[in-house]
Symmetry: C2
DNA sequence: CAACTGGATGTTATCGACAACATCCTAGTT
DNA sequence: AACTAGGATGTTGTCGATAACATCCAGTTG
């Protein structure tokens, strides 16, 4: 879908009435502003009669607290800075969406800054901008080397949290890789009789891409298979297409493990254009299970990643730090293998 | 790509040093805080010697203005609230990205709130949350009926701007429809000899979907063609698939005009599963030109929408209102027809 | 040389909320 | 009836910045 800006469209002139403050409310209720403030902060010891008048005045004036003033005094804004790359990609976008919803549920608003990977200068500027908005915390949602570097170079005076795919790495190295989910894909292919695989990886400045490469290598070893090589793309369908189309000879392999669904789509088209049938001649599997993957031709075997859950989890962990609560961290379910028609038994030679 | 939250990953403990204020700077420079403030706001009449000391102190202390305090006093935050739906969809996501970049270039930050279409209550809550953050302005980036209603029911005390696809509607009804771009698609199909078309529409609570339906109808009339019906989807590939798969008999048409690329993907799979060849037996065209569309099988003929440009345009218009500048509004180029292999000559009967 | 002018700088008030402290009132005690 | 404890409420200060007003001083003028 799309929408475009409407030059003459509906809009609202800024109403000149300025918002009611606690002083206005206090005057209307015939009490001091502090009584109003007390009511708002949930103080118990207010006489019912007084309380009633305050409630009434609050309602009459349509009072809305001014969060700017509140955060100036209390030093805590209810805003979280979220840094991400390429929000137009499905993965990051859905992580952001999950984070946004989780933040809102907790009474926070997300300041989203989508950084351009190709423009390191913009990253610096954005961080400078963000550090001024005294935020409650900062979240890095899509992790590239640039992002990591920028994060390390910046001194946030607030809790910062980097959401990365190296889930559980510190606790258990095996845990980390298994969480990436690639092993399940490799095992699936091994079960179908495939012995020689190829990996099409994402750009290695992304930690997610590096993790997937490591997971692929480890899974190949674990299953006693052979890797016929690693090709490189940039997450886009175009790069997946090129990775295959530009090869003079296809690698000697019967299955492709592609680091995301978009590249898998491009790779499938290139393979089909070379006259190969999927999955009869060659199997291909992706990662992410974007909503379109089930409607590729053939429908793509892939890993379902719970992006919204990842976003929620990142926020919940940041909030735990901000509010120093000991809340049980939200868990992200491990990726789920979704077998579709793009993977089939290895061809008999 | 994807990333997931890292429970033990890199993070930064909040440094306990609190930020330097203009008072700290003033003391360090041996001047009054007001002199510092004057320097910061670009006041000319400061003696070079004094200025030098201020600059030095500013630098030594690593001063960063506290925007919360600034906006409390000045009443103008540099934040813009952006309301959107389904940011995980490519269109909205890229509009948001464009808006976000444009906002940042102007020194603003976007507070993005992604509303759930299915939960009107959440819309109210989000608007309440947003109205408290005294924003410089509010932007509605994806327009559904719920959004419009909520906007009308809420009293923003700031400029609000609704970005919609009814581009130029008020100026020129023909302009509005042509901007939607559908006429170019219909003309393209007519040029290939198609006479009977079907439209697969998006959910009619979206103004974009309604506009596209109207544009389709108008274009059919203008070209003297016949519409064999309008099917309905929800923008997803799954709904495009179902729209075709659930029909007992296909409509008597040689071409499908689908309101977005994702539904077109699903529809193509369903058509192929019915044994139809694209484009030999049936032509299909989409809208949006998502990056994957060129790698569908066959590659999809579609309309290229400049989403980032739309986002930028929306921000620039809102900023013009906020700052009451007479800046020339950014123009969004009209959608461009991208002909690929999914559309071909109408079959001879 | 005193009065004046205007540029440079300092002092105080303000935004809206919350917090600390001060004060008032009521009910219970002797 | 005077006294007190403690709950209810009011007053003042604070957060960091900007605005309005006040003051200081050097150089000009008559």
């Amino acid at each position: 879908m799309s929408t475009s800006a409407d030059p003459t469209g509906p809009s609202r002139a800024p109403a000149k009435v300025k918002a009611a403050t606690i002083y206005d409310v206090a005057q209307a209720a015939g009490v001091s502003h502090q009584t109003v403030s007390r009511f708002l902060t949930g103080f118990e010891g207010i006489r019912p009669a007084t309380r009633e008048r305050v409630v009434q005045a609050l309602d009459d004036l349509g009072y809305r607290p001014n969060l700017t003033a509140r955060s100036l005094k209390s030093g805590q804004s209810h805003r979280i800075g979220a840094l991400t790359h390429e929000i137009s990609q499905v993965g990051p976008a859905r992580i952001v969406e999950g984070a946004s919803i989780a933040a809102r549920e907790a009474g926070y608003v997300l300041d989203i800054v989508s950084l351009d990977t190709r423009n390191p200068l913009a990253i610096e500027e954005s961080l400078a901008l963000i550090t001024q908005h005294d935020l409650a915390g900062v979240l890095a949602l899509a992790v590239t080397d640039e992002m990591t570097r920028a994060f390390e170079a910046t001194s946030f005076r607030v809790p910062a949290y980097v959401a990365s795919e190296t889930d559980g790495a510190e606790d258990d190295p095996r845990g980390m890789l298994s969480r990436v989910g690639i092993p399940a894909l490799v095992a699936h292919l091994a079960g179908l009789g495939h012995r020689r695989l190829v990996h099409i990886a994402g750009p290695t400045i992304w930690s997610a891409a590096r993790n997937r490469i490591r997971a692929y290598d480890a899974a190949i070893d674990a299953q006693g298979l052979v890797s016929a090589g690693i090709l490189h793309g940039d997450w886009s369908a175009a790069s997946g297409y090129r990775a295959i189309a530009e090869l003079t000879d296809l690698p000697d392999a019967t299955a492709y493990v592609v680091a995301n669904d978009q590249m898998a789509l491009g790779a499938m088209l290139a393979l089909k254009e070379r006259g190969l049938r999927i999955p009869d001649d060659i199997s291909i599997v992706g990662v992410d299970d974007i909503p379109e993957a089930a409607y590729f031709d053939p429908p793509l075997t892939t890993l379902r990643n719970d992006f919204e859950g990842q976003g929620r989890a990142a926020v919940s962990r940041l909030l735990a730090r901000i509010e120093r609560s000991e809340a049980v961290p939200v868990l992200v379910p491990p990726p789920l293998l979704v077998a579709r028609r793009s993977s089939g038994p290895a061809p008999q030679r």
